[in-house]
Symmetry: none
Subunit: 193 residues, 4 copies
């Protein structure tokens, strides 16, 4: 227990420090030595838990993906109506990215660039399942247009990410009203009559 706690504690410190550091300075300007300093462990300790910097990034990606997946589908009910599920997914995603700036910046810059493998790969199993469930029901019940999955994902995720980037980069202040504005526009864009 003490062992496990210590190990998990260290890994958590490393993850947190990595997210902060990468949000601060990007992949370059983020040497392992600085990460060690920020995480308050030695460089050697990082290599005790991760075989390389690349693997650390990969593990961090999976860590964030899981964290995001759990958070976003919290209170999400498969039995809810399509519009309710759309609202839940859209708003939860926005709020998650809004409240977890470091996660957002990391996912945007690293995970979604060359570590990623497919369109849905950035979503955890939970989240992908919720999204696909919503999508199939919505199409099947003629609630939304029968468009390609990629189009739908780009419409929602793409616009959300774009808006949050503006917010986190300080070009604008993203308030709840604007979030709803975007959500309604996207909904109007995909709904059937």
């Amino acid at each position: 227990m003490a062992r496990t706690s210590k190990k998990e504690f260290n890994i958590d410190k490393i993850y947190s420090a990595a997210l902060e550091m990468l949000a601060d300075g990007g992949f370059h300007k983020s040497p392992m030595s600085l990460l060690a300093k920020r995480a308050e462990v030695s460089v050697g300790t990082i290599y005790l838990y991760f075989p390389s910097k690349d693997q650390l990034i990969l593990s961090l990606f999976e860590h964030v993906r899981e964290h995001m997946g759990e958070w976003v589908v919290k209170d999400f009910k498969d039995s809810a109506s399509v519009p309710e599920r759309y609202d839940a997914l859209f708003l939860n995603l926005c709020h998650y990215y809004l409240e977890n700036k470091n996660h957002f910046v990391f996912m945007d810059q690293f995970a979604l660039s060359h570590y990623n493998q497919s369109a849905l790969a950035a979503l955890s199993a939970n989240l992908a399942k919720a999204f696909l469930g919503f999508y199939q029901d919505a199409i099947h019940t003629h609630t939304i247009k029968n468009i390609r999955l990629e189009t739908l994902l780009s419409l929602t995720h793409g616009s959300i990410i774009s808006l949050l980037k503006k917010h986190h980069m300080g070009f604008m202040n993203l308030d709840e009203e604007t979030i709803l504005e975007l959500k309604n526009c996207v909904w109007d864009g995909i709904k059937l009559t």
Copy 2:
């Protein structure tokens, strides 16, 4: 004149080589020595024209922005109707990104991360003017909803970029039909009645 031509010729070779190289391997794996080799100039020559690698990236960003601005508003008429102008902007943007993979990858990975300064900064004066003109007319004539500029930009650019990323990363093949699908959805999302 001959001098100027030589200089401009070299700078063009450097820009082209940089875009290729960065699309190939990202910012790391792109040393100045390799750029020099690809551009068929010496390292020293690059430093004659650009004071540092960072400044080169910045200049490249402006170069691409201008190029894109000129291309996208080609044949664009301020006097056309709002829907026509929407179609022109949307489709031109899509086609430009589709046919200029290196520009897209560069703008997405580099320009929009550290180097950018404001929401519209990624658009050239030409393009920003065309977009704002369209936007004001569209609002004023009650053709589209009166939403924030940022929301509108994220809806269009954000979803376009998201979809093109999927295409250029090889997760999907983006055909004309899908482009139209996206364009229509976005339009349905922003149009008034």
Copy 3:
């Protein structure tokens, strides 16, 4: 007693593992952590018995020297004739090195480079005594030429080591016939008519 046994048992395991490891990969590629794993003890345990890696090598050298000394002069009789003693020393040495590859590689690569101190230091007290006894008798009885001790040692040991290196490195297969060939040549080279 049980304590001592445990300690000696551990030290033996460490020595064996070290010889294997060093023969496998040389001094580099032989971290203490790997040694600990191979010896099935913890790193800390090794440092209980040896103050440093260098000291461990030194102790290992002495261990091997003693082992070799005991083995080579087994059945060696000071009362035997000079040629008989020559044969015994020469052949025993060859067979020892032949059958103990790890010892040979270690003595050749490590012990004889930095850690050694004198010409005879590589020989255990036993072996040095046997060799010097043979040498003095042989000179005194005019059985061999009156040459310098170092010349004699280099003739025998040097050529034996050279041949065994070829064998253990896989450049040749050292059979009994070749050993005898070498032994006879050396003998012809040092004997007095």
Copy 4:
């Protein structure tokens, strides 16, 4: 010419410094940074000429082998008698190793260990040719015993190396008389009648 000279000058400085450094401290304790300091060039410069530390060692081995090969067969005449050629090879080899301590230590510790490939690989083409020519003539004219090539090489090289190691490690002082003593013993060991 100036370019070539500068390059060759640097490479020579690197080779010399490497030989000194390796003789001083072995492969470990010989970091590239120290080599750079000793060679009075920067680390980067070394990597300009050699792709890696291992390749540098390999190139150095070939450099020394060629140098040795040229030196040892200087004044060597294929037409000389077998005993004359034996004397020349034996004594030249001894004198070369005697006067080039760093070369000797390097060849003994590195080249002959795991960078080497075969029994004759440590000899340059020149030297190998001279040696094999001598050997074949000597066997064919019944001047020396018909023994395996490896045995012969180990008798000569092995004993020479062993004796020179004692000298260069400071255990003895190798004078001309002792060299002749060894040469004669080996000759007596291999000659026919």
